[in-house]
Symmetry: C2
Subunit: 199 residues, 2 copies
């Protein structure tokens, strides 16, 4: 397990200013249109410093929203699974990360905001698309990649809501392994199976 990226404790004034500017930019412009250059300008620092602290826009987003892990790194690990275990491993890994209430809070918080705030919705939409799509593209036909990524997103978002927000039983209290067995094949089909029928 890699270290948290939140930096709450030892955060310097400069880092805090960058993270504040990032939160404002992502909320105002969405994930795609927010730029490291713009965030640096708004924080009154050099873009090179932002790159030095956070490396990529994704990592800056993860730090600013206090996401528990960098999604593309989590997905990269999962996509090292054998082909036939992809779906189960994705469900298992995501749920294990979210078992920790402290790790879960910012993710659920962003999902909640996205329900009522178009800025947050766009931010989350673009981020999910970006993170899942990049990885799906490695395996699927380019034509289907966006469809597959959004299907995966639909089941993962629904699972997160059902387990952690709506708390519908037995999903709310089922073991991670049982959910991986029940929902893994869905993700597996969305990633590698037939999703367009035979038309």
């Amino acid at each position: 397990v890699s270290p948290r990226t939140g930096r709450r404790a030892g955060e310097s004034g400069t880092e805090a200013a960058i993270l504040d500017a990032a939160r404002r930019s992502f909320a105002e412009y969405g994930y795609d249109r927010a730029t490291i250059r713009g965030i640096a300008a708004s924080a009154g620092v050099d873009p090179a410093l932002v790159h030095h602290f956070y490396g990529t826009k994704e990592k800056l987003f993860v730090a600013a929203t206090r996401f528990p892990r960098v999604p593309s790194e989590v997905l990269k690990e999962i996509f090292e699974s054998s082909d036939e275990r992809l779906g189960e491993d994705l469900v298992r890994t995501l749920l294990r990360i979210l078992e920790d209430p402290e790790a879960r809070a910012p993710v659920i918080g962003l999902l909640r905001s996205a329900m009522t705030n178009e800025g947050a919705a766009r931010m989350l939409r673009e981020f999910i698309t970006d993170a899942i799509l990049t990885l799906v593209t490695r395996r699927a036909e380019p034509d289907d990649a966006a469809l597959r990524a959004s299907l995966v997103a639909s089941q993962i978002v629904g699972l997160g809501l059902t387990r952690f927000v709506l708390e519908i039983e037995p999903i709310a209290s089922a073991s991670v392994d049982d959910l991986a067995v029940a929902i893994g094949p869905t993700i597996q089909r969305y990633l590698t199976g037939e999703v367009r029928g035979d038309r």
Copy 2:
């Protein structure tokens, strides 16, 4: 298509008082613990009158929340489908109902409230469980019925959010038929397939 149950236009003073009381009761006590007797008392009318106007608690809920259709009736129609078309027909029917923005608004509104308000979350949780479970029980082994119902709920809620709130493409603008083909088999497996592995 059956008529809307909202009764906005010709609503009498008594009906408006009953619906107000119902909205307050469902929000305060949840779907399970709210009673027609309690709602009638709070509206200052006889419970027989509430039964006369709305018949069942489910129909009263549908009227109070302005749901477009009575879910158990929609599900009853779907469950008259042939066994192997259940999943596709459920996705197709629900999405067709929600295509109408006016029909969709109260459903999405309740989902939004459920994200931030525990009363609304409990109301929705109990209502979904009740509506889906009743129908699932007709076909599945009793032991698995609750699991199957909550799995169906997870994919349906996720689909609704992805299409109508987060608007993740291509799900947001895909045709109802394409989504029925892509997501139907998931619902089908949750309803009638293997969801517990071979342990």
